[in-house]
Amino acid sequence: MCALDGVSFGIEEGEWIAIMGPSGSGKTTLINILGGLETPTSGKAIVDGVDVGRLDEGGLTRFRAEKIGFVFQQFHLVSYLTAIENVMLAQYFHSTTDEKEAQQALERVGLADRLEHLPSQMSGGEQQRVAVARALINHPKLILADEPTGNLDEANEKIVIDLLRELHAERRTILMVTHAPSIGSLADRRIDFSHGHVVPSIPALTPGRP
């Protein structure tokens, strides 16, 4: 079975792209390949000049640490680490830890008073904001967000979307998978997937740039 077939597109630096499509259409596979979590059986996935498919295990590890920031639908925080430690963990794998910088990242996402809280002591929205802070801490070239608001209530969804808007305004490159057309419409561009193929381009419904 082919998860992605004949998929070809490019993203400019600073662009916010929304990947949309039904379940099983290959959206997450695309994110995983671009993030170096999976390797394509054929074809090329080039991120910041690096052909991800040609990297060995060590190269993929460095690639993920240095170039990619992940935000997952399920948050995926380490349950026994506090908010600040979860952010510092990404710093640790990248280079060295800087507690002050990690604290500033959490302050930026509105969690100044949650630094020493464990994930179990935080709401879903707060956990996702920790994940966003963690994704940003190493200044990645590409932020890959897989359904970042999929598990959030409306209020928290707005907070996370506002954060993505801010990042976009800072010219961060964001590739976001979403099912929600209203969220997809915020992006510069929308790429629709169906059965592992890119559906011919549809212009964004509304301008994505703030």
Binding site: L37, V78, L81, E85, L89, R134
Partner: protein, 379 residues
């Protein structure tokens, strides 16, 4: 961050890790106890065997008793020729006394009269029981001891007067105590060495010297060799029955202890292994996430290895303390005296437990195979 995360790993999984800690603490307590016992058993056995009596005898050389010399004289040796060199090389752990034997008559009965340093009898034979009083003066010729059988046969008790006759010479003494050795010594009479030498008219002569060396069989053999070198004209003979029995028992106990230590190490490793296998399954998601964040497998597994290392060292340390108490108790129960903890057991136990914990952490190797994409999808 490394140790901070290791600490959080320990804190976050304390319920499951408690099982591993308990296994490590109990394993190391028994191992530490056995190691202390192993190091202390030599001393304890030496003390136990020392109570069995003399373990080296110095007598006239067989060459000296070659045909041609008179049988009575051949067995006699000059006491100064032996006692002065022995005194020079004997340390505080060595008790010794000269012995001169004569078969005398008392109440028309023949009895073996032993002339010796009466004040040393107790040191040479710690297991002897005495009804009455030991004689504390080496020069006291007025008092003597009588073996239990001899006393019964001659109807003697403590305080009785004993008259012995050898040829035309006589000697008298007051019985200070009745000896119960459980051996042939119970048939003998023990008198002052000078008194017996005078009775037999062999001044300055003795038959043999008995030594009780409080040491291991190996040390006793070495000491006997040294004595042989110092006294080439005499026969120096370790009493093999005692020293070999001690050596054999020691070897058996040591073998048993080593076998038990191995068994406990294996059991502890298995227990840690079972805990870590369960923990490795639980941590697949964390490892998948860490990999996705750019963590290399060596850095990620490094956390877990450090975690089990800390567990092992901690469990080993606590267990070593408990083991010291255990060996103290075992010494009291088995030997009647406490075994003092040995400092070198602590680092050995901690090291052993750390290695065992690391060996038990082998299931964590499976974490290297974790595919982050699959784990993060929740599969």
């Amino acid at each position: 961050m490394f140790w901070r995360l290791v600490f959080q790993l320990l804190r976050g999984n304390r319920a499951r890790l408690t099982v591993a800690i308990l296994a490590l603490v109990s394993g190391s307590a028994v191992i530490s106890g056995l190691l202390n016992l192993d190091l202390g058993v030599e001393y304890q056995l030496t003390q136990q065997f020392r109570t069995l009596g003399p373990n080296i005898v110095i007598a006239a050389s067989p060459i000296a008793s070659a045909p041609g010399s008179g049988p009575a004289d051949s067995a006699l040796i000059n006491e100064d020729a032996v006692l002065i060199p022995v005194q020079k090389i004997a340390g505080p752990d060595v008790s010794f006394a000269p012995f001169a034997f004569v078969i005398a008559r008392t109440q028309d009965t023949q009895v073996v009269v032993v002339g010796t340093w009466l004040d040393q009898l107790r040191n040479l034979n710690p297991t002897w029981k005495l009804e009455g009083n030991w004689i504390s003066s080496r020069d006291d010729q007025a008092e003597c001891l009588v073996g239990r059988n001899a006393a019964r046969q001659l109807h003697l008790t403590s305080g009785s007067r004993l008259h012995v006759q050898y040829l035309a010479r006589n000697s008298d003494c007051t019985i200070s105590g009745i000896v119960d050795s459980g051996a042939t010594d119970d048939n003998q009479v023990f008198m002052n060495l000078r008194a017996v030498q005078t009775l037999a008219e062999v001044p300055g002569k003795i038959n043999l010297v008995q030594l009780n060396v409080s040491a291991t069989p190996k040390v006793i053999a070495t000491f006997a060799t040294r004595l042989s070198d110092t006294l080439p004209k005499f026969q120096v003979r370790p009493i093999r029955k005692v020293t070999e029995a001690e050596g054999s028992l020691l070897a058996h106990i040591r073998l048993l202890i080593v076998a038990m230590i191995f068994l406990i190490l294996i059991l502890t490793a298995l227990c840690v292994l079972a805990t870590m296998a369960a923990l490795a399954l639980e941590r697949r998601e964390d490892v998948g996430l860490m990999k996705a964040l750019g963590g290399s497998i060596s850095r990620i597994v490094g956390f877990f290895v450090a975690e089990v290392g800390v567990l092992g060292a901690f469990g080993g340390f606590i267990g070593a303390i408990l083991g010291a108490a255990l060996s103290y108790w075992m010494g009291l129960r088995v030997f009647g005296t406490a075994i003092s903890p040995r400092w070198e057991v602590f680092p050995v136990t901690v090291l052993l437990m750390t290695i065992v914990a690391m060996a038990g952490a082998l299931p964590l190797r499976m974490l290297a195979e974790v595919k982050p994409a699959i784990i993060l999808r929740g599969e």
